[in-house]
């Protein structure tokens, strides 16, 4: 187990003590060279999948929701499951970049940029589902409270409207947070630009950033404020998503524990997805000394912790349903465990609660293959968790005469697969064109990067005036 040294000394976050310039070079490597066959193969695969998904979505818009499996009594099925799944995945990014920043966990610096980008792409992927499942997606603008000639407004008491505000705010804030984090890196890229075209593009995107302390002052404060705002924001977004279910009276949905349970589940699946992608990326671009085993181990610890929280929530839900004494509540959960969808429930418990327990062992936490397998299984399990929640509660609710089974169609599966294609295509494009690791933040946390003078010695200086150069 841990040696005494582990307790007393912090393991370095960057292995090999590269110089600051070396960090720039290593991070910029994937962007500089022409992508190799691996990238192209991956891009082709995900691109094809994305195209398939998008065309199936277009086909659905043309022909209607009848192409899907949504029917009485399971009116809300794959689309909402996929939506919650993808939004949940997005939450890890904000947690890593905002919450870990507030807790001053420096190890987050190397993975924050990537995680935030994943958040943005996950939210984009997720947002396609509510739009698609509207039936007439070209009227999607009706969800906004814009004055119209029908003199109608949206229903602000509806969780679906809250969802709209939450998702769009989350997307906007995450995008801005990610973008302002990029600006200093884009300035560095601007100076290393190989061609004039590159230079112009990076120049525009970096807003003429130079690195004056006058700019850093406000920049840091803005970063802190955004991190402080993003933290409650990310909790509120998945809470509001949980309200979609919990504000109803359907047994199995109407449980007060849903908000924190969903948030913990989102962090859980998000971290698993970040792990899945980072394990591949760090290997492909030889960034193992920047995204070290320590980063991965820490993320695995978060996966274990959230797995336990999710397990706690399962137990409490089951207990409360029994405790309520109401036959319908008790039946709903009995049906989950032993009814026609028992296999989904079993898969969910296996993948979410049992499998991640291997991470109690340090060997599993620091070995690539076990953690990779666990991360994939966790995402499978989390998808099935949403499936279990949505489908089992709907397919057998109050009136036995209304009971039925849910049959997803090929179009449903195709769109689900296509959503993965969309997500991974965006990730691949991001990795190719933008620095996947925040050079600025990693450099700032290197041991040689900060002043060695004692802070108490330099207070009380006269205020310098602004330079205008």
């Amino acid at each position: 187990m841990n040696k005494a040294a582990d307790i007393l000394e912090a393991t370095p976050m960057v292995l090999g003590s590269p110089s600051l310039a070396q960090i720039d070079q290593e991070v910029a490597v994937p962007m500089g060279r022409i992508p190799g066959p691996t990238w192209w193969a991956a891009f082709a695969l995900s691109g094809l999948s994305m195209l398939m998904g998008l065309s199936l979505m277009g086909y659905t818009a043309y022909r209607g929701i009848g192409l899907w499996g949504n029917n009485s009594p399971v009116f809300w099925a794959f689309p909402i499951v996929n939506f919650v799944f993808w939004i949940g995945i997005g939450h890890a990014g904000t947690l890593i970049s905002a919450i870990l920043f507030l807790f001053r966990q420096r190890w987050r610096n190397a993975i924050a940029r990537f995680a935030e980008a994943m958040t943005i792409f996950a939210v984009m992927t997720a947002a396609t589902f509510p739009v698609m499942h509207m039936g007439r997606p070209w009227l999607a603008h009706w969800v906004f409270p814009i004055p119209n000639d029908m003199r109608l407004w949206v229903n602000f008491r509806s969780p679906l409207v809250w969802d709209l505000f939450a998702i769009s705010t989350y997307f906007t804030v995450s995008l801005m947070f990610w973008y302002i984090g990029l600006i200093p890196d884009l300035a560095a890229m601007r100076e290393r630009a190989p061609t004039n075209a590159h230079r112009i593009i990076y120049s525009i995107l970096s807003w003429g950033w130079t690195g004056l302390n006058r700019h850093w002052r406000h920049y840091e404060r803005a970063y802190l404020i955004l991190a402080g705002l993003s933290t409650p924001l990310v909790v509120s977004v998945h809470t509001i998503v949980s309200f979609d279910f919990a504000t109803s009276v359907i047994p199995g949905w109407h449980a007060t524990i849903l908000p924190p349970y969903f948030v913990a589940g989102a962090v859980f699946s998000g971290f698993a997805m970040v792990l899945t992608v980072l394990i591949v990326v760090r290997k492909a671009f030889h960034m193992e000394h920047l995204i070290t085993l320590r980063h991965l181990e820490n993320m695995n610890k978060v996966v274990l912790a959230t797995s336990l929280i999710v397990g706690y929530a399962y137990c409490v839900e089951l207990f409360t349903a029994w405790y309520s004494g109401e036959s319908i509540e008790r039946f709903t959960f009995l049906n989950r465990v032993t009814g026609p969808y028992w296999w989904a429930f079993a898969l969910m418990v296996l993948c979410n609660v049992l499998v991640p327990q291997v991470h109690w062992f340090r060997k599993a936490r620091t070995s690539i293959l076990p953690m990779f397998v666990v991360s994939i299984l966790v995402n499978v399990g989390m998808w099935f968790e949403r499936f279990v929640i949505v489908v089992t509660s709907l397919h057998r609710d109050f009136l036995p005469s209304s009971w039925g089974m849910y049959k997803p169609t090929l179009v449903d599966f195709g769109i689900l697969l296509g959503s993965f294609g969309l997500f991974f295509t965006l990730v691949l494009v991001f990795v190719r064109f933008l620095p996947a690791i925040s050079m600025t933040e990693v450099k700032a946390s290197m041991p040689q990067a900060q002043l060695s003078v004692h802070p108490e010695e330099i207070i009380g200086q006269p205020e310098m005036e602004e330079v205008s150069v």
């Binding site: 307790i7 449980a255 007060t256 908000p259 924190p260 409490v316 004494g325």
Partner: protein, 396 residues
């Protein structure tokens, strides 16, 4: 361990006399008021006693939680404060004798203990496999087994480390922290269900355990902050414990308090929105007969005031502000428990009678006494913790 400008006392730091006087005075006052309160309205007295009991338990567990948290995430900034948390975790020990009147008064407090009432009611019968006296007492014993066991493992180990300096004790605590957190979550959840939720046996809320958990975490952090800030103001902590440390403590307090508010709001919104009478009845009780003012007061006092008071960066390093805000939060936590428990115990009475006065005073007396008792035996800082130096040198 001792450096030139970082002299740390090796023996227990004597506490100011005023503290002893305050504890004594509060104890006397509380005892004087308790007898008439008990005689005038026994049911109300028992309900208040339950509030006091849960208050003490949540404070002690909250303090123990902070201890375990430090080992769980390997934090260094909190090491200088850990002994304060450990001392205050002694409240768990005190809570056990406090439970005696409650265990004797279970019939008065809990409807489900009346077998005649249960036998005619289908819902109560359905819950009887869980809500019965024997199982209740077994669970009670189990909770305390876990809590007291954890207390001696963590706190005892840390105190032993003062004399032996054994790094293995820290490693043991780090290994025990994760399972303890899991056990704490489950035990406090079911304690919340047993002691508070079952006061209204028809009502249920799956988030209730988490509600009490976050309340305990806030209360624990608040009392640590109060103690830490008070000690620093009286120069009883080493100089190296600076604004950087208190900033983190204040930020933790802020975050946990906001978390509590979020949990409370989520519970309220979902029950309000669903509109199911079995669930809303509980809130109905708290929106009539004067309790509606307490509900509003709870929102203002437990959320709004601490939120605004701790929002700015400078607020979290201002020791005086930390002191009054944490004391305020402790009062708000007491109000929270009062609001949770009393309307279900005394369904037809309004809030705030003179019989309730002795209990906040008793709580203060108990907390001060435990502090004085423990801090007289051990140094105010874990002097030979292997991470103490790193903790003292912590910079934001």
């Amino acid at each position: 361990m001792i450096t030139e400008n970082n002299k740390i006392r090796q023996d227990p730091t004597p506490m100011p006399r005023a503290l002893t006087r305050a504890a004594l005075g509060a104890a006397i006052l509380a005892s004087l008021l308790m007898a008439p309160a008990a005689l005038s309205n026994w049911d109300r007295f028992l309900g208040n006693w339950l509030v006091l009991f849960v208050f003490v338990v949540t404070l002690g567990l909250g303090a123990l939680f902070l201890v375990a948290l430090e080992f769980l995430v390997n934090a260094t900034w909190s090491v200088p404060f850990r002994r304060i948390s450990e001392n205050l975790a002694g409240l768990i020990l005190i809570s056990l004798p406090l439970a005696i009147p409650i265990l004797m008064g279970l019939h008065t407090l809990y409807e489900w203990t009346h077998s005649e009432a249960v036998s005619v009611d289908s819902i109560l019968r359905a819950k009887a496999p869980y809500l019965n006296l024997r199982f209740f007492l077994i669970r009670f014993a189990l909770f305390y087994l876990v809590w007291i066991g954890a207390y001696f493992l963590f706190v005892g180990g840390s105190r032993r480390q003062d004399s032996t300096g054994d790094v293995g004790l820290t490693k043991r605590a780090m290994k025990l922290a994760p399972p303890f957190m899991i056990l704490l979550a489950f035990t406090l959840t079911f304690a919340a269900f047993d002691w508070i939720m079952s006061l209204a046996p028809y009502w249920y809320s799956s988030i209730f355990g988490i509600y009490l958990l976050t309340g305990a975490m806030v209360a624990g952090t608040a009392i640590i902050t109060f103690a830490g800030a008070s000690l620093k103001l009286k120069n009883l902590l080493p100089e190296a414990v600076r604004s950087d440390h208190f900033y983190n403590l204040g930020a933790l307090l802020f975050a946990l308090n906001t978390l509590w508010a979020y949990i409370a709001f989520a519970q309220y919104l979902l029950i309000w929105y669903g509109g199911i009478p079995v669930e809303t009845h509980w809130f109905d009780l708290r929106s009539q007969r004067g309790w509606e003012w307490v509900s509003v007061l709870l929102v203002l006092a437990h959320f709004l005031v601490p939120f605004l008071a701790l929002l700015s960066r400078s607020a979290k390093t201002d020791l005086r502000r930390l002191r009054w805000v944490s004391a305020w939060i402790l009062g708000a936590h007491g109000l929270d428990l009062y609001w949770l428990i009393m309307p279900s115990v005394r369904v037809n009475e309004g809030p705030f009678g003179w019989q309730d006065l002795c209990f906040p005073i008793a709580a203060i007396a108990l907390a001060l006494s435990v502090w004085l008792w423990q801090s007289a035996r051990f140094p105010v800082i874990a002097i030979r913790d292997p991470r103490l130096q790193a903790g003292l040198q912590f910079h934001l």
